[in-house]
Symmetry: C2
Subunit: 379 residues, 2 copies
């Protein structure tokens, strides 16, 4: 069944037009028996009660070849399983449990733009609140810039808020990015992102499971979210309210055994409440920015990460006994060596030796009131 | 050995003056054989090299009874194991692994103030950066107010920043609070907190393992931190740089099998970096405020917590099938019932019925272009 024969492609185009994106009954049936057989079965059957679905009734009026032609005219290609650019990781959706009756691998994906779908696999999904804050947008932009600069594509949904901040972060870093949208890949939604979507469609990719022309219904966002998670190695949630589509994407990433992480924010910010809730519940790791996300990717052995370390202090180069003497000095005043020795729990000779060494290192000074911490030693 | 006989108390006062607070060799030896025997052994022994310690040499010059008398004159009592107010949970320090050569149960605690030590057990420790931000101080104050209002004592260290915000939060809520300090309980450090420490010492408690008059050395903060953790059920770190005394307290709480949690903040804030590091490493849970801390205490069955829940929305009262119809409506425009049925993947009759129900509930409206989401339904 996993061939991209013309018949199969046309049958998938028909079913993709007739069925709702991500309807798990349809996607799994097509996965199991192939689109041509499903189409044949549906063409035979009817539902005379009209109670269940009018899908079978609609199929007769859809011309698959025409669907593909019309799509090509607006610059869309229809990528199906078996095509060279089909990303094998989307097949992980076969075994992931459905959510809201959505699930299974897409029948096909409508793509606008030069980027191959398999290049988008192993990407980082950066998703989050539409009602984002400047803080969240800046965090999303930083993460997108850092990972895409390393060549890791940034996948998001093209929406207001965190989504657009992520796309822009990647574009600013000259990195790869793609929007997986809930409406037809030829549609512009939201209207305010017309220029962004046009740019992605001409230089990167706009991807949709929904047939061309389809409107953005809420149920389609739920189906779309599973694709964002499926494309990516890591899903990063940068701000999400307690009920939020971004948490639906995170849920999908879990079902697909992908890494799920979130960026914390002020506990006073409602925009971060969903992220805090999930980190608290152990459903999400915590990342502080792009470097942490790269480290997660690096765990898969593909990327080199320079660990950010706290700067070494002079005291780190001391022996434990010398540190003990340093720590035994009073704060803000001086002390004679025997007092230091007592506090340190060490003998006077050893303490005197250590104090001289610390003096050489610039960590202690000697004054009228004995030994005291220098500005460096007190730091 | 666990009696509070006068001899034992006096011997402990001598050793507490002679040894460094929390010196694990001393605390464990006293725990194992009792203070009177340790004192007898040390009085016999000398260290003629003077290389190891001059402890034995000092002991002869300390008058234990006088120590207790002088302390009483400045309002301090010396509480030792076996005393009615000794909190049994401090004995958890016997089995906790030492850190920086500090460890073991204190020889005794010098206490100023009317609050009994055993009343402070099971408290919440609120600790954090001296160099705190307004955000962190406000979070610390909120947590302290919420838990102390329920009668749970708030323990902190009396220092600048998060410590003082925690004490003040508890005082503002008329709740119990205590400072466990690194210098003698009779000393004022930092000087700026003279009024606060005086108030705690007259209405609540100022507690120290260090003998009266002792100065606040760095090594004493390390010993003190283990006591803050030992008193508490939960240690909350509100802001901490990557290297921070608060993380030392958190480490002690771990060693004592106490809950350790942190309040996240902006990833751009250096004051939150230590907290984020620990949450990320899985060494610390995440709390969003006082309610979350109460919930942790509630897990021990002692406190009743009202769970904060997201407000129920009208859609939560719908059946799954009704929600499916609602979700199938387009965003920002209307649709005829057959289009809604197609998107919902349901039959026309059922959809029409559901739409009428949704209309009754105020979630959808009917206009010239068919059914559309109402303002409530779109929320």
């Amino acid at each position: 069944v996993r061939t991209a024969s013309d018949d199969e492609r046309v049958a998938r185009a028909v079913l993709a037009r007739a069925a709702e994106p991500g309807d798990v009954r349809m996607t799994m049936l097509v996965h199991d028996v192939g689109a041509r057989d499903v189409l044949a079965i549906l063409t035979e059957q009817r539902d005379p009660q009209g109670l269940l679905t009018d899908l079978a009734g609609r199929i007769g009026s859809i011309d698959g070849a025409q669907e593909l032609e019309r799509a090509a005219k607006v610059g869309l290609r229809f990528v199906v399983p078996g095509d060279p650019e089909w990303p094998p990781r989307l097949d992980d959706l076969v075994t992931a449990p459905p959510l809201h009756e959505r699930g299974g691998p897409p029948l096909g994906l409508w793509v606008k733009g030069p980027r191959r779908l398999d290049e988008l696999a192993g990407s980082v999904a950066v998703v989050g609140a539409r009602a984002s804050t400047t803080y969240g947008e800046s965090a999303a932009g930083e993460i997108a810039a850092v990972v895409s600069r390393r060549g890791v594509p940034v996948v998001s949904g093209g929406a207001f808020g965190i989504d657009v901040a992520a796309h822009r972060g990647a574009l600013a870093a000259d990195g790869p990015t793609a929007a997986v949208v809930a409406c037809g890949a030829d549609r512009v939604y939201p209207q305010a992102h017309a220029a962004l979507l046009a740019h992605l469609g001409s230089e990167h990719a706009v991807v949709s499971e929904a047939a061309p022309g389809c409107a953005p219904q809420r149920v389609r966002f739920l189906a779309r979210n599973r694709l964002i998670a499926a494309f990516s190695d890591v899903t990063v949630v940068v701000e999400a309210a307690v009920r939020s589509g971004a948490l639906n994407t995170a849920n999908w990433a879990h079902r697909l055994n992908r890494s799920v992480v979130g960026v914390p924010g002020p506990v006073t910010s409602a925009s971060s409440a969903g992220v805090h809730q999930e980190i608290r519940a152990g459903a999400m790791g915590l990342v502080r920015g792009g470097a942490d996300v790269l480290e997660l990717l690096g765990a898969a052995g593909e990327h080199l990460v320079e660990h950010e370390r706290a700067p070494e202090r002079v005291r780190d180069r001391l022996t434990t006994r010398q540190q003990q003497v340093l720590d035994a000095l009073p704060i803000g005043r001086g002390a004679p060596p025997d007092s230091v020795a007592r506090v340190a729990g060490m003998g006077l000779l050893e303490v005197t030796g250590a104090l001289l060494r610390l003096h050489e290192a610039g960590l202690v000074d000697h004054g009228d009131d004995g030994w005291r911490l220098s500005a460096v030693g007190a730091a």
